[in-house]
């Protein structure tokens, strides 16, 4: 946990959501192997956005990311040419329609297309903690004086795994069941050096407990044509997994002689797996920290689990709608395959959205 005068801040936040809405009953109707499953009751997801298949729509992972990056730059004091760093964090790496890319990096391609010609560029891949990972690296590179600013972006064509799941699953215990709760989206965030206390990232601390790295695996299906995600939900969401966040966060705070209550969080943003998951994690936090949780912000009912973009999509929607207060202190808690947990604490006041 580092906290010094050379810290960073969120400077601008952008998002893009495909306009096409798919209601949960309409999705369930395509699940041939389990047509009666009550997906909405189990996950709390009532609808999600889905990509437009037409190439002209530009809604593959790369195209989604590009739109969010442009939106962030529209709300930033920086032009693309001012950026020192571009990091892309997509899990789904579709470009040119159906091609799943491993190289070149999306970050390099995005930097080129945006006009960020000076920018250092690389991708990070860290499941649903990808955006948070990119933000941590950018924060450290700013603190170390290596860069002054940068953009972290992710476009997720997540419903590609839902399409495979709908074709292949047979019941609600299927390892692909969680794939039905995902939605498509993109977010991008610009960071630069903090200049006052009104906007500051106080800390980003992340940890991977690798014993559980096999609990959620994404790869092409070996049954039908598509990519798939196989999750051991029972193990992944076991109480001991959920206790990792309060245990780690609490220990990090204790090193500084602080407690969760001392932090004065106004809002908490959990990973948007489902409404029950969010409630469960908050209850676990409440019990382990022995204090009530701050107000929990969510968008999972409307957009589903949007993978790496989820925390920043929550911030974007609530700040834009005025349902989250400016001048407040936010806690973002990742929960990702790996398994990754941790905490990002930030005061947000003047962030452009």
């Amino acid at each position: 946990m580092t906290s010094d005068a050379r810290g960073s801040r969120f400077e601008a936040l952008g998002a893009y959501l495909p306009p096409t809405i798919l209601g949960t009953p309409d999705l369930v109707a395509t699940v041939t192997g389990a047509p009666d499953v009550d997906l909405e009751r189990i996950t709390g997801v009532s609808r999600r956005r889905v990509y437009d298949k037409r190439p002209t729509a530009g809604e593959d992972s790369y195209g989604l990311a590009l739109k969010a990056a442009r939106d962030a730059l529209d709300h930033s004091r920086y032009d693309a040419g001012d950026l020192d760093l571009v990091v892309s964090a997509s899990i789904t790496r579709y470009r040119d329609g159906d091609d799943f890319y491993f190289e070149p990096s999306f970050a390099g391609l995005l930097a080129k297309e945006l006009g960020a010609h000076r920018a250092i560029h690389f991708d990070v891949s860290n499941a649903c903690a990808g955006m948070m990972t990119g933000v941590q690296l950018l924060d450290r590179l700013i603190r170390a004086g290596i860069v002054r600013n940068g953009l972290v972006v992710s476009g997720e064509q997540a419903t590609r795994v839902a399409e495979t799941a709908a074709r292949e699953i047979s019941d609600s215990y299927d390892p692909q069941f969680a794939s039905l709760s995902v939605g498509d989206s993109a977010v991008a965030v610009v960071l630069d050096r903090a200049v006052d206390e009104a906007d500051r990232i106080h800390y980003v601390d992340l940890m991977t407990c690798s014993e559980y790295s096999h609990l959620c695996l994404g790869m092409p299906s070996d049954r039908t044509e598509g990519i798939a995600l196989y999750t051991d939900n029972k193990q992944m969401h076991k109480e001991d997994r959920l206790r990792l966040w309060p245990a780690f966060h609490g220990d990090q705070l204790a090193k500084l002689g602080r407690s969760f209550t001392d932090e004065g969080f106004d809002y908490v943003v959990q990973h948007q797996v489902g409404t029950r998951f969010v409630d469960y994690v908050n209850r676990t936090g409440e019990r382990e920290f022995a204090t009530p949780m701050p107000e929990s912000l969510s968008v999972v009912e409307e957009f589903g689990n949007t993978a790496s973009t989820s925390h920043f999509l929550v911030l974007h929607r609530h700040l834009k709608a005025g349902t989250a207060r400016r001048g407040a202190r936010y806690l973002l808690v990742p929960a990702a395959s790996g398994v990754v947990t941790g905490a990002l604490s930030a005061t947000i006041t003047n962030l452009g959205v």
């Binding site: 070149p104 860290n126 940890m207 245990a247 780690f248």
Partner: protein, 305 residues
């Protein structure tokens, strides 16, 4: 404070079975830790920079699976070690190791961690590079352990990177349309005519700019380059007006193994220091160029030479 290499290792693919990036990187990690006489808990951050992996796995980060293989921060509840490790994949084609060195410098300089382990393993998604005549790379793993050095001398210089406005002449992807149920073992690596010149142009310009900006005497420097083609090091040396002996591009171990990909800088480092640096040479300049096109450079002055 500088960042120095504490240990390095490479691991070749098994001769008698399919290769897995997780296992190759995991073994290389353990070899690094053994060389440095450190326990797995000594690593605070693991960055995996491999591009091609078994089954085209895209989640979790390959780094998390490597971390498990190396026995690092398995379960914080069972064993809450103080520097509880974090890991992620960093992907930027052949430049990955050098990008990761820059990230490691930031992590070490800010006191975020004490040691960073970089792993670089590429395997054909089907497990045997030799069985796919269109796939140019070797199944190969490597690891590099970095830490802070108290002194101001030696270690890595600043990392410099460059991109280009040209479209990339190199790409690696899985064409999912038409893959049917075979996507776990297929990969397309496209290298257009002229790709070698594109990478050479960018690498030469980036290295020359690095030498100028950092005041590097190239006559006292051994270039350690990535290896997009067999003759890349010699051609890069010629572009910079240096003799062929001033540049080293490593071979992957084993006959007909293919080109080393993301592991090349680590392989090159081990080759460069194995017999001691040549007379009159006191530093290395790592130069990597790959898909993007993207290039990166960083100097390294070994501590004990």
């Amino acid at each position: 404070m500088t960042t120095v290499i504490t240990a390095a290792a490479t691991v070749a693919a098994p001769a008698d079975g399919p290769a897995a990036a997780v296992l190759l990187a995991g073994r290389a990690s353990r070899e690094c830790l053994a060389e440095a006489r450190l326990s797995p808990d000594a690593v605070g951050l693991l960055i995996n920079v491999g591009v091609y992996r078994e089954h085209n796995t895209f989640e979790p980060a390959v780094a998390a699976l490597v971390q498990k293989e190396a026995g690092i921060n398995l379960d914080y509840l069972a064993d809450p070690v103080p520097g509880a490790a974090f890991s992620f994949d960093l992907m930027n084609g052949a430049c990955g190791v050098l990008n990761a060195v820059q990230v490691a410098q930031a992590m070490l300089a800010t006191g975020s961690t004490e040691r960073v382990l970089i792993t670089a393993a590429d395997v054909h998604p089907g497990g045997r590079a030799a069985l796919d005549p269109h796939y140019p790379y070797a199944d190969l793993g490597a690891a590099l352990l970095l830490e802070r050095s108290a002194g101001a001398e030696g270690g890595f210089g600043p990392v410099r990177t460059a991109g280009s406005t040209e479209p990339s002449a190199v790409a690696g992807y899985l064409p999912t349309a038409g893959m049917r149920a075979g996507g776990r073992s297929m990969i397309t690596v496209r290298r257009e005519a002229g790709f070698a010149d594109q990478l050479l142009d960018l690498a030469a310009a980036t290295a020359a700019e690095y030498a100028r900006a950092e005041g590097l005497d190239l006559d006292r420097t051994l270039l350690v380059t990535s290896r997009p083609t067999a003759d890349f090091a010699q051609r890069l040396a010629a572009r910079l007006g240096l003799p062929a002996s001033a540049a080293l591009a490593p071979d992957a171990p084993g006959p007909g193994a293919g080109l080393p990909h993301t592991a090349a800088p680590i392989l090159g480092y081990l080759e460069a220091v194995a017999e001691g640096l040549p007379a009159g040479v006191d530093q290395l300049l790592f130069v990597a160029a790959g898909a993007g096109p993207s290039a990166a450079c960083v100097s390294y002055r070994p501590l004990d030479r």
